[in-house]
């Protein structure tokens, strides 16, 4: 499988489950760029997010495990109550340090560390949410060459998160969920 050494990181908070499922469902067969999903939820949630997402895609969806190599064709969900970081050797690591933006997992933590490793091979996506998570790290990732897609606030269940991101991003593409999927399909 050819993923061109790319990585996709998708961050979402309230109102983002539906768009996440839609995007995964619209990826074309054979899509193999690895995806990390950071979705805010309660600390006590189990791994059902991965199961829910799995119902919409043929890609393999699983909770990220520590020191796990990032592999093409996989969708990794940030486990409840853990931050997910990306190591130089393209493996994942977990961290239970302080919440960031009141969140663990935090989108900022994953975007930042993924951008340091993947640079212009990284695409970050910011979806619906009532939180500023993903905005500053999105801007940082942008500086390092990453492409940023933001769900059109007019179409987001909760527009605050896309709006906060757009306030600090310089070159973000504002797209509907369907267009985000089209964009990703063309990346490969």
């Amino acid at each position: 499988m050819n993923d061109n050494g790319r990585l996709i990181a998708i961050g979402g908070s309230s109102g983002s489950l539906d768009p996440m499922m839609k995007i995964l469902g619209l990826l074309r067969p054979g899509f193999s760029i690895p995806i990390i999903i950071i979705m805010h939820r309660g600390a006590d949630s189990d791994d059902s997010l991965a199961q829910v997402l799995q119902s919409r895609t043929k890609l393999a969806v699983k909770d990220a495990e520590e020191k796990e190599p990032i592999k093409p064709g996989f969708v990794y969900t940030a486990p409840a109550d853990y931050h997910v970081l990306v190591e130089n050797d393209h493996s994942l690591s977990l961290d239970v340090s302080e919440k960031v933006n009141y969140s663990r997992p935090s989108i900022d933590v994953t975007f930042e560390s993924a951008a340091l490793v993947y640079r212009d091979k990284l695409t970050c996506i910011i979806l619906s949410g009532a939180n500023a998570d993903g905005a500053l790290s999105g801007a940082y990732a942008e500086e390092l060459g990453a492409g940023i897609l933001v769900q059109d606030p007019a179409t987001a269940g909760v527009s605050f998160m896309p709006e906060r991101a757009l306030a600090v991003l310089k070159n973000a593409k504002v797209l509907t969920v369907e267009k985000i999927a089209v964009w990703l399909n063309e990346l490969q």
Binding site: P79, H83, E87, N88, D95, V96, S97, V109
Partner: protein, 275 residues
């Protein structure tokens, strides 16, 4: 990360080497992504404008070095964290520990002590605290002092109490501490059975044998070779048929000691040493 400088990879390695040479604290086998992020946060908080000034301060100011280590290592914890894990301890492990004349438990990487106090409460409720010794170690002196004091913020007590109940606790959690303004102090009958000391898992040796070693959410910060080394240290410190408990995302899988242990509770990450 805004405004401040960004540490280059080579500078990070230079800094880590300095800490080994000057202070004997070896972070070179810590997972880089988390370590980098925490060092950058410490640098931002310390208002350093470039790498040279951070390095100079660390090289010349031991007091700053120790506070830096505390910032860089993760000290986030809560009582009865992952209540189901404590439930498993209550139901599966404590009844076996009860058969020993003296119960020795090691909390490796005890941070501010929440887990040690949780364990003491479990033992007390099982009527075993009087014959138990809880050894609690960490590489940060200041968190050990904090743990030893038994003093915690009152703000975290609601969450702790909820966890306690979810773990199967039947008492009124507030009977274990006395509140004073915004602080609480845990009962001294709990801390009387605790021994606190500094211990660095990277460089210090085994110091006793234990029936239970708890090291939760510490190994995730280490690279694989260091994880193996620390697991071997635990194995050396393990009593015959002793138990090892790791964090919910940690595993013995693929480690050199894995064949020596059988799983007691796969989900709650509890293993037992084979004969």
């Amino acid at each position: 990360m805004t405004g401040n400088f960004r540490l280059e990879q080579a500078e990070l390695e230079e800094l880590l080497n300095l800490l080994v040479e000057k202070y004997g604290y070896d972070f070179t086998l810590y997972s880089r992504a988390s370590l980098y992020r925490r060092i950058m946060s410490a640098a931002v908080r310390g208002k350093f404008s470039d790498f040279a000034s951070l390095k100079l301060r660390l090289a010349t100011d031991p007091a700053y070095f120790y506070s830096f280590v505390e910032e860089v290592t993760v000290n986030v914890t809560e009582m009865f964290r992952d209540p189901q894990f404590y439930k498993a301890l209550r139901e599966k492990i404590i009844p076996i520990l009860a058969t020993y004349p003296l119960i020795r438990i090691w909390h490796a990487g005890c941070s501010t002590g929440e887990e040690v106090y949780s364990m003491a409460i479990l033992l007390k409720e099982a009527g075993l605290l009087h014959k138990s010794i809880l050894y609690a170690t960490d590489l940060n002196q200041s968190v050990i002092e904090s743990a030893r004091s038994g003093i915690f913020n009152i703000g975290s007590m609601q969450r702790n109490s909820e966890n306690y109940i979810a773990s199967g606790g039947k008492a009124d959690f507030s009977t274990y501490y006395r509140a004073n303004y915004n602080l609480v102090k845990f009962d001294e009958s709990l801390s009387a059975r605790m021994v606190f000391s500094m211990h660095n898992l990277v460089s210090d040796a085994s110091f006793n044998e234990f029936q239970l070693i708890m090291c939760r959410n510490v190994l995730i910060y280490f690279e694989k070779p260091l994880q193996s080394k620390v697991l071997e240290l635990f194995d050396k410190s393990m009593d015959t048929l002793g138990f090892l408990a790791l964090g919910s995302k940690e595993s013995l899988k693929f480690s050199t000691i894995a064949p020596l242990y059988s799983a007691v509770d796969v989900k709650e990450k509890i293993w037992r040493r084979k004969k």
